[in-house]
């Protein structure tokens, strides 16, 4: 790779935060704590009984990130809350400094971690365009040369000489985004700013972003939880998890990985005691799933037409005579797409129980799915009583042995009907 094409080069980036309260908060408190430590006494400011954090107990928000972004790329950054996305953007926008590592940047960088940073309510829209533009790094002359475009893009021409404190929140956002969209900087860093504003304006902004990137060769770094905007805007995508980079490449693959980052390994035997459960059960979890095991399997990867055997163990505090088990299936976009029911589980006794089920996933397209397990019962009137709902029981992957191409779940759906036959 030619070095000249690189816009951002991140090497060994780490950011450490100290856990617990930073300092005593007051000078007096810090001096007291310091004196006490000198004399070997207890810190008078530490709360009794609370867990005291050692001085070197730290949290790595970013733990060794290496990443190279080329010019003109639109890089999406995804990850769960706390994965380190915002910390990365903050360091890139120089709001805070890294603990270790280094970032080399070629080109001016503008960041939008928030829309309308530095807007002053008393100033008019026009004055705020200048102010915001300057905060984001433009000179007066640059703003002047673009002000007509900005006003037009913002759709606020009518109100441009009104103080922005009288603006509706939508207008405010539009104006703010319009400024950012017209920045001259070669690199644009954005944190979920498009989450605000109406759909039409969002689309307009995404269009504008793609435009500046492809026609002017500008680099865009975009963080979002909204996968559809990531898909629309980004040409490449990285996934962060616990401060580490876990994937770098194709957008669709990144989203798939992001969606099942929690699934861990595809182990055939799963402990369900600490799995994520539905909390507001009416029946007080009188029955609980303990484990689930796919028999005769090394991992939870199945052929589409295969029948798999699942052994469940349950612990019950009551006797149920006509227990039923339901298996709900979610796709990677977290849409519930199907359910399978076993109506004749029979009776569940007080204490330990074992149920073995044969499951066929026929009809589902290939892809990765999540299974949800429910044990329930119904009374004579057909009302359903659910005893335990394990929302994330297991993850599994379905393979279609005879496919020459990939099933595009986003566009084609999750159900593959029986193949059509040519007559």
């Amino acid at each position: 790779m030619d070095e000249r094409d690189i816009a951002i080069k991140i090497t060994g980036l780490k950011k450490k935060y100290r856990l617990g309260v930073i300092g005593g908060g007051t000078l007096k408190g810090d001096i007291e704590s310091w004196l006490a430590k000198k004399r070997g006494k207890d810190d008078p400011n530490s709360k009794l009984g609370s867990k005291t954090y050692e001085k070197n107990e730290t949290f790595m928000a970013l733990d060794g990130i290496n990443l190279t972004v080329n010019k003109g790329e639109r890089l999406g950054i995804i990850g769960h809350n706390g994965a380190g996305k915002s910390t990365l953007l903050k360091i890139l926008s120089r709001v805070t400094a890294p603990t270790e590592g280094r970032i080399c940047i070629d080109g001016r960088i503008s960041s939008m971690l928030e829309v309308g940073t530095g807007f002053s309510g008393e100033l008019t829209g026009r004055e705020n365009i200048y102010l915001n533009g300057a905060i984001l790094g433009m000179t007066r002359a640059e703003v002047t040369s673009k002000i007509d475009q900005i006003i037009e893009f913002s759709e606020c021409a009518q109100f441009i000489d009104t103080p922005v404190k009288r603006y509706s929140s939508g207008m405010y956002v539009k104006l703010a985004f319009a400024v950012a969209a017209h920045l001259d900087s070669e690199i644009l860093v954005m944190d979920e700013v498009l989450a605000v504003g109406d759909m039409k304006f969002q689309q307009k902004c995404l269009g504008k972003m793609s435009d500046v990137s492809s026609s002017e060769g500008r680099t865009v770094l975009y963080v979002s939880h909204n996968m559809s905007t990531i898909r629309q805007l980004c040409s490449r995508c990285v996934v962060l998890d616990h401060g580490k980079l876990v994937y770098d490449g194709e957008v669709e693959n990144a989203i798939a990985i992001y969606s099942d980052i929690r699934k861990g390994e595809k182990k055939p035997k799963i402990d369900l005691r600490n799995a994520i459960r539905y909390k507001d059960l009416k029946m007080m979890r009188q029955v609980s799933f303990l484990t689930a095991e796919f028999l005769d399997k090394e991992e939870t990867v199945f052929d589409v037409d295969e029948t798999v055997r699942l052994k469940l163990t349950l612990d019950s505090k009551i006797d149920i005579h006509r227990a039923k088990i339901r298996l709900g299936i979610y796709d990677i976009y977290n849409r519930k797409i199907a359910s399978a029911i076993c109506d004749n589980v029979g009776s569940i006794h007080k204490g330990g129980n074992e149920v073995t089920l044969d499951i066929s996933f026929e009809g589902l397209a290939e892809g990765t799915y999540r299974g949800e397990l429910i044990v329930f019962d119904n009374n004579d009137y057909g009302t359903i009583m659910e005893y335990d709902i394990v929302l994330e029981a297991f993850f599994f992957e379905l393979k279609h042995p005879l496919m020459e191409y990939n099933w595009n779940a986003r566009k084609w759906g999750a159900v593959r009907l029986t193949d059509m036959k040519k007559i």
Binding site: L27, T117, L131
Partner: protein, 280 residues
């Protein structure tokens, strides 16, 4: 060949990594901040910029009454009103520079936390907007001086008056220097914020604002003159009213102090600005 990067972000290591050139690149931003302060300050007020004048005018009247008429402090034969105003107006400038810049980090945390620009632009802009206040007030002071001069009061301008721009710049630098030191420390300790308010008003009594340097014993006088603000006020009064003492040597010390304060201020500020978002 090693590539030339526009910017390199790394954990700060060198103390003298100041990058003042960047501040200059953002001069438009400084100007816009000044303009913003100016426009927002008097929005929705009836008297508007008239407040610039009312404030020092009333302070002077009250001081004339309390210190001049009740306490009967001597004013070196200068009309009391002028004497107090000559102390008041520059002191107000210094204290406003100090107090408003001392809030830089905590007051701007929401903006600083979202976008990067050289942080020094904010205190500089604050000092400049206070300068507008000061100029208006100083012109008012000159007007009164002229009036008293024409009505035959015992005042005369001396050559020291020509140094006024220097004094103004020095007060701005001194105020900002102390201000940014305090603002850097308040990111962790909020105590200082409380201290600033009454600290500045106590400081005024250590400065010849409401009394003349000539009324002090020589020992006390030299002690007071180590206060960097004291020679400035004393010299301004000597320059425009021709009264009081001429502490030129002490002014030299004051200048050195000023630059030391500014230097320390910028270094601490620069160190804090990189990571203050994690502690503020």
């Amino acid at each position: 060949m090693e590539k030339k990067w526009t910017a390199i972000i790394e954990p700060q290591k060198r103390i003298f990594d100041l990058n003042l050139k960047e501040v200059w690149q953002y001069k438009d931003l400084i100007w816009l901040f000044v303009k913003r302060d100016f426009t927002t300050k008097f929005k929705q007020t009836i008297l508007g910029p008239l407040w610039y004048i009312i404030q020092p005018l009333f302070t002077t009247i009250v001081q004339t009454f309390v210190f001049g008429n009740i306490a009967k402090l001597p004013t070196d034969g200068v009309p009391q009103f002028l004497f107090y105003m000559a102390g008041n107006v520059p002191w107000a400038y210094f204290s406003s520079c100090l107090q408003s810049t001392s809030n830089t980090f905590v007051g701007n945390a929401s903006v600083f936390g979202k976008v990067y620009f050289p942080r020094l632009t904010t205190p500089i802009a604050t000092v400049i907007s206070s300068l507008f206040n000061f100029i208006v007030q100083f012109v008012m002071f000159l007007g009164f001086t002229l009036y008293f001069f024409l009505t035959g009061a015992n005042i005369h301008i001396t050559w020291v008056a020509a140094l006024t721009p220097l004094f103004i710049a020095q007060m701005a630098i001194l105020g900002m220097g102390f201000g940014i030191i305090i603002s850097s420390l308040t990111t962790k300790y909020r105590d200082l914020q409380v201290l600033v308010g009454f600290g500045v008003s106590l400081w005024m009594y250590a400065t010849p604002v409401i009394y003349s340097g000539s009324t002090l014993s020589p020992k006390l006088y030299s002690l007071m003159m180590l206060n960097p603000m004291a020679p400035i006020i004393e010299l301004l009064r000597y320059g425009w009213l021709g009264s009081g003492t001429l502490p030129l040597l002490y002014w030299g010390i004051s200048l050195i102090t000023t630059f030391i304060v500014l230097f320390i201020g910028i270094i601490i500020f620069n160190k804090v600005e990189k990571t203050f978002m994690d502690t503020v």
